[in-house]
Symmetry: C2
Subunit: 348 residues, 2 copies
């Protein structure tokens, strides 16, 4: 395995010592300009590149950040969240020469094992945790290992004191509820995601508080992000004696299922029912009517997370952040409540 060019090879070729080469290549003081130039030219001529493993062993840094993906293969091909996040992360990492180390886990227990191994093996310089749950055992793991920097993608209130990048659920909730209120809706509902998820918890509370503040009726059903559950919950809500005039869905998939469910029940969208999706996607654009959706810049969030992770990996402290702002993209699925003619007149 002697094919790669090492520092010793360069040193020999340049007729200097290993340390001189090291200093020269790292731009450190300790060598004359003359030898530095010679070393640099020889090194580049020989095609020297630092060996990753040796560097990692020597200075205990890998320039790598770890991410464990927990797949629900059914959700995988539908949700673009993870891919956009990875795009943002790696785009920002690229500037600093960091890599993303990805593993997948079939269960929370297995994920914990992977994380523990990373900590013990020094395989990564920092770890990103997504899909934080209430009482998430990963939080305790990293509190026990303060030497391994970690960033949680969740609300600051859920991170147990660990650095967090908030998904901004409260601000977004205000945006959505305020929008519904502005359209005249006074009876709204929400089809939420899994109750264990930290972001669901945050949104649950935020929706309850916001709707109360606006004096609106609010009802929440918990589903599982599947189109079937979106369909089921929509039917339940629309069958109530006093059905809501607007429903917010925690995912675009459920919102699209709702669009179909409403149609099959003879409920007109947006005349009788406004539908709003928490996540925007190409599907929301292409459906008829288009679905009003919260536009979360997940790529930007990934970039932000990457910056924070690099800071943490290099020993700098970071403040919990929530500065990536969301906005609402209004499409045909939402409209003023009540008599649609009045609504149209007002809008025009």
């Amino acid at each position: 395995m002697k094919s790669r060019v090492t520092i010793s090879d360069v040193a020999k070729a340049a007729g200097v010592s290993n340390s001189a080469v090291s200093y020269a290549l790292n731009g450190k003081a300790g060598v004359s300009e003359q030898t530095r130039d010679k070393v640099l030219s020889v090194a580049s001529r020989m095609g020297w590149r630092p060996n990753r493993a040796a560097k990692a062993l020597s200075d205990a840094s890998t320039r790598t950040v770890g991410l464990v993906l927990t797949y629900d293969t059914a959700v995988l091909s539908i949700e673009s969240y993870t891919m956009e996040l990875i795009a943002g992360l790696t785009a920002e990492f690229e500037k600093a020469g960091y890599s993303l180390l990805v593993r997948s886990s079939s269960s929370r227990r297995h994920e914990l094992a992977v994380l523990r191994e990373w900590v013990a093996a020094g395989a990564v310089d920092a770890v990103l945790l997504m899909n934080v749950e209430l009482g998430d055992p990963r939080i305790e793991l990293f509190r026990e290992h303060p030497r391994m920097p970690v960033l949680l993608l969740c609300d600051e209130s859920l991170s147990g004191g660990l650095p967090a990048l908030s998904d901004n659920g409260r601000a977004a909730t205000h945006l959505v509820v305020d929008y519904c209120h502005g359209l005249g809706h006074r009876r709204i509902a929400r089809v939420a995601g899994s109750e264990q998820m930290g972001h669901t918890f945050i949104r649950d509370n935020a929706f309850r508080e916001e709707s109360a503040a606006f004096g609106m009726d609010y009802l929440c059903l918990h589903a599982d992000y599947s189109p079937e559950s979106g369909d089921r919950c929509t039917r339940r809500l629309l069958s109530l004696p006093q059905p809501p005039s607007a429903i917010v869905y925690d995912s675009d998939v459920m919102a699209l299922a709702a669009l179909k469910a409403a149609a099959s029940m003879g409920v007109r969208v947006p005349d009788d029912l406004s539908i709003i999706s928490w996540d925007d996607s190409f599907m929301c654009r292409m459906s008829s009517p288009g679905v009003t959706a919260l536009n979360r810049d997940v790529v930007a969030r990934g970039r932000k997370a990457a910056g924070m992770l690099i800071d943490l990996a290099e020993g700098r402290t970071v403040q919990p952040h929530a500065e990536v702002a969301d906005d609402l993209i209004v499409r045909g699925s939402s409209a003023p409540v009540g008599d649609e003619c009045v609504g149209v007149e007002v809008a025009v």
Copy 2:
């Protein structure tokens, strides 16, 4: 940085030498059962885990496979291909304790630089190349560096002799053309992706040959996967003196755009026009009518690729493979050509 447990720590605690510990922990001969047991129990009590960097330096293996993502952020949130591939890859890697190292590149040149660095730094044990283009410079790079195992996701005929996992474009093309022919279509068209892409090249040829073999008229337009280009090409095709009765789209996004374009031109789908998408997705299921689509099991392909990459990384040779079969999911967007009443009668 002395917080982690090393082999020396274990050796000291167990009262044996470093090498005894190493042998014991790696299940190698050279220690008595007695000392092996003692070492194992001491090691697990102390929570010893092998240090990644040290192992990598010592045996020049990282148990890591590299993947460079080249993002088109517009496509990113729409296409699930990459995410599904990563899911399959990491799921299979997990069994063997391999990790996926991900970087992103903004340009082909930058990707080449990343790959070169990986080769020189020994950062990964193998590399996966996707989106192979005609005359792809990456092929030459890896032919120059035969020590770095590589797997190309493309047709065997494009890989320049390097190991390849075919995306099976020919077989799938036959499936699609045969299906169209069976429905009575004799004038078909295709809205293809970028002409530089290897898979486009393969499909171009395969479609030409298959349609000729069936004695069908075939016309192909090259687009760029964007909804706008899908719309534009569809309008052009439908404005021909003798428009096709079936159009195959290289992506679901373009197929969905076509659905809208046809509707706005008063062309009925599937009565006047059958639409078939090369990629299946949730959108194809949810649209009205649903879009007939080629169902490529990308996750399975990822698993297969992972297995081959591990073989390559560990020095075993692999055969070019194309065994992941595709199938066609028929939905409402395709139907027998001509008088739709006849078609319905036949179908019922």
